[in-house]
Every structure is written in C-alpha cells, then in structure tokens.
Amino acid sequence: MVQQADIDASSNKYLRGKYAIVGVGETGYVRGSGRTTKALGTEAVRNAMQDAGLKAGDVDGMLSYSFNDSTFSPTVAGELGIRPNFYMDVYGGGSSIEALIGIAIGVIEAGMCKTVAIYRAMNGYSQVRIGGTGGKGAVAPLSGESIFTRGYGLMSAGQMFCQSFMRHMYDYGTTPEQVAAVKAIHSEHASNNPKAYYNKRVSVEDVINSRMIVKPLHLLDCCVETDNGVAIIVTSIDRAKDCKHPPAVIQSVVGRCCKPRADMHYQSGPISTVAGHYGKQILWPNAGLGPEDVDVTGSYDAFTFTTMLQLEDYGFCEKGEGGDYVSNGTMRLGGARPNNTSGGHLCEGYTHGINMVIENVRQLRHDVDDFCPVGADGKRQHTYDYSEGGCRQVKNVEVTANLGWATPGQGSAMIMAKN
C-alpha cells in the first residue's frame, strides 16, 4: 500500500522565471467601508491596472476567490470595460492567492488568455465576519457532519486550529511568549505602514495579557477583521517588460497542497506538522532555491501560530524550533529574514493572503510605501531606520517567499525573485 505521504508531488519546472506579477492594487484597510464589495473589487483592480500601466484592453483574464461574500469577476470586469477571454471565481479564503497565481500561469500557458487580474473584495468586518459571529450557519440544524464540529462548539478558525497549536507546545515545549513575539514583531512593522489598520506597537506582555479567546489563543494572537479590496496582475515575462515597474518574477508555486486525510486532518500524523511539510517538496525544487536563499518571508498570520508553523515546516528552521525562530529577532525588520513587513493580517488588514503578496512585490521593487520621503524621481528615499514611523524597506531584496494558510492540513506557497 502506498502511504499518502510518499506520493511524489514534484512537478515540471520549466515555467520557473517565465511569469511575473506586474501590478498591485489596494483600497484602504478599514472597518466600515460604506461600499459594496463590487466597489471595493473594482477600485482594487483599477489600481492594479494603473500600477502596471495597463488599460482595460490589456487585461483579458480574471480570477477571484471568496466565501460567497464577494462580487464575481464578470461584474467587476464589465464595470471596468474588461472583456475576459477567461474568468473563474473560486470558493475559499486563505491559501487561495498562491494557488490562483499558479492557475493564471496555467491558463496563459494554455493559450486561453494573456494577462490575468486576481482580486479579493470583502467587507470582512462590516458584512461577513469570518471568525466572528458564525453567521447563519451557527443556527442551522446539526447535520450528520456538523454534529462533530458545530455540535461541539467547534466552528471558527481558532476553534478548529487550536488543537494543532496546543499539540505543538506539548511536542516541542513552545511557550506562549515565543509565539506572542509574532504579534509584537508584526506590530513593529505595521507602525511603519501608513495603511495598517492596527499601527500601534504592542509588546509580548500585551499579547499575553489580552483576554483568552480559545486556548492557546489570546485576542492579540488573532488577526484583525477589515473591509478591503486587493488585486494583483499576472502576465508573461515578455509582456511584463512593457509594464511600468520592474516585474516580480514567479519562480515556483504550490497550490492548496494538503496533508493526508484532507477530509479531517487530525487523523493523520503528528498534528503539530502542517501542510507545508508536503508543500516544501514542490516549492524548493521547482524554484531551484532553498530557504537559505530567501530574504523576506510573508508567512500567513491568521494567528501568531500559523506564521510559526509554516516557517518551520517549509524549512526556515528545524522542526520544533519555530518558537525560537519567531522570537529570536530573525523575522524583525533589520533581522536576517524579516516576515510580513507590512504587519500582515495581525495588523495591516485581513484579505485572505493577497496583501502579503503585494508587500513582497513592493519589497522586490525596492518601493515599499512607508514613511520615508519621496525623492524627485517619485520613489521613496529609504532610510533603513526601522524605528516607529520610519522605514520598512529591506535592503537588497532578491528573493521572497509567501506561505499561504487555509487550515493546518492545507496550504499554498510562492517564491518570487527580482528580475
């Protein structure tokens, strides 16, 4: 019998360096947008087109993802005068963006279209709160499958992931203070980000002293809920040459890679091991790089723990040493490999992953939108002074990694490099 864990998941490598992200666009990260998801999505895609220097006629593909809490591609495309040769709207949240970038590459490669805009538009605070209220589902009758989830008060992301987080502490001696450092560090980064919803610095003690939501998660171990539209544009490296900014070149993509027992991942292996353990077998060989080559990471921080578990299982440190890695200064601005330099989901805003991709594109362009003065050439004159209200550009960024999380059992990833 072939064990699920032994299946060779490596794929063809010849698309390495052939595609790029050429445009990024955002609305503000707010609570109470006062607008429809259609308005948010349209603004984000338009901003990404302007960023890339592309017109409606230059974009002929569109992808989006949502939990049916958004506005679908044909509407957003139509309002912007885009005529898609290809579009698809998929179900899902975290881990979707890297997967959709891979799909965009695939459909362009198949000749179905040439340039794809990908967006996520959500009123994640003022309309559908992913982690907050439970929505209509919380009061629906218990079905055969929801008896063993909702019937046990096991429904929100925090409630479904806490077992994996707790077991990591048990298996490896990871401490609450080590994990809280993730929030403290991301809050430092956010204090240098004019767009961040939470832009005040917090300490490890602030995290530990915040009220308990579901052990081991304090309030400040959990990400913010916000309203926002975010978008990126993917095209071939040849077309990227005509765009306004240097391209962020895609080296490798992992899309919604799963642990065994994707139906209920608790059944398989140590639950303190997450999908990245399998995803790394695709990510690094296809990129021709390893963790040691990466300058900046964007490890999905729905919770402080998710950042740690992914960095560990993608091999940025030894298994079990994630607690040390996230608290020893490595991932702080000025450290050896900063993580989520925008403040991520814990501080900047909640987009199901796109804002961390946008941040890494800007890091590779050497054009992060921090508080540094803008020079005569229209670009920021980065000071590398990472104190509060200062710079968040990392020096000499050549390679970035995005590690996207859906659940402990399912994740995506992407490596980008400077042109």
């Binding site: 864990a5 919380a138 218990l142 079905s143 055969g144 909702r150 707790m166 048990y170 639950i271």
Partner: protein
C-alpha cells in the same frame, strides 16, 4: 422513553441520503460505539466515510470499538461564538485518541475523535473539572440522547483508569 429531539437547544437532522452518518449515530443511540472497518485493508476509520481513506475500498463492516482513549490535544473556549455554548464557557474542545488502532497505519496516526468534555452525567464540564484535564488524561465515551436514532458522543474522565499524575496543560491558567 421521551427524547429531547435537540442538543443544547440545537435541532438535529441527519440527512436521509447521509447513510454513513445515519448508521454511525444510530449505533451511538444504542450507546455502542461502532466504526467502519475496511473489508480490504482491515483498518478502522473516523469519521464515517463513503470509502476507505487508506485503500479507497467502498466495502466496510460496522465494527464495535471500545470508547476509551487518551486526550491527544485540546482547546479551551473562553469566547464562544455560538449562542448554544455561551453559557457554558469555558468549554473544552477535545481531540481524543482512541486506544483502538493507536499508531496505525503510520507511527504517528490514530483514530482521533473531536468532542467536548462532560461530566459523568453528560453535561458540559464546569470550570473546576476543565482544569483537571489535559493531554494524557484518560477518557471514556458518554452519550447524550437526542432521539431514538441519534445520540451525541461525548467524553468524560475515566474514573476507573489509571490517570497521569499531572496531565499536560497550557502554561497559563
């Protein structure tokens, strides 16, 4: 015998087409835990499925399993999002590893049931009981009847079992 026809105020409707879960909960209603055992690879599985997660076989036999195990991991909900649970915080989310088939098919695999910690009478555990339970605690299955075809499987401290001196709990109480 009369039934409440609900659980914690939540109505329960196991779909007519959901044959596997109907069967699973009907054994629970008899207070006799049964899991599907694959007719081809002989492995038990949880939850109820339409094929074998280990060998894809569609053929299985419902097999009696002792409802005893060890707490493998847990969460403790202090901020409930479902109305049914708000008056019961803190409540404990259990991941119980059954003694049956522990360490199979892989060394670190096991049959791990999600559940809540309850008293011997099947009521959600009060805070002082929650504090006694951690990774390593020995647990046994308890049922809460919903109707003649469905009971909810829950877990209580196994008073007859040898318990660890100090089960592992999160560092901050």
């Amino acid at each position: 015998m009369t039934f409440p026809n609900e659980y914690l105020g939540m109505p329960v409707k196991v779909g007519e087409l959901d044959h596997e879960n109907r069967e699973f909960y009907s054994y629970c209603a008899k207070h006799d835990l049964h899991l599907q055992k694959c007719n081809d690879c002989d492995l038990l599985r949880y939850p109820a499925t339409t094929a074998c997660p280990f060998c894809s076989s569609p053929d299985a036999t419902w097999t009696s399993v002792e409802g005893k195990g060890t707490l493998y991991s847990y969460g403790e909900v202090h901020h409930a999002i479902q109305g049914a649970f708000r008056k019961h915080t803190p409540y404990m989310l259990l991941l119980v590893e059954l003694d049956t088939q522990k360490g199979q098919p892989g060394e670190f695999d096991g049959i791990r049931m999600t559940s809540n910690l309850v008293t011997a009478e099947g009521e959600l555990a009060p805070p002082e009981l929650v504090k006694q339970v951690g990774i390593g605690t020995r647990l046994k299955i308890i049922y809460k009847d919903v109707d003649e075809n469905v009971s909810i499987p829950l877990f209580a401290i196994d008073e007859d079992a040898e318990q660890p001196e100090k089960p592992w709990r999160y560092a901050i109480e």
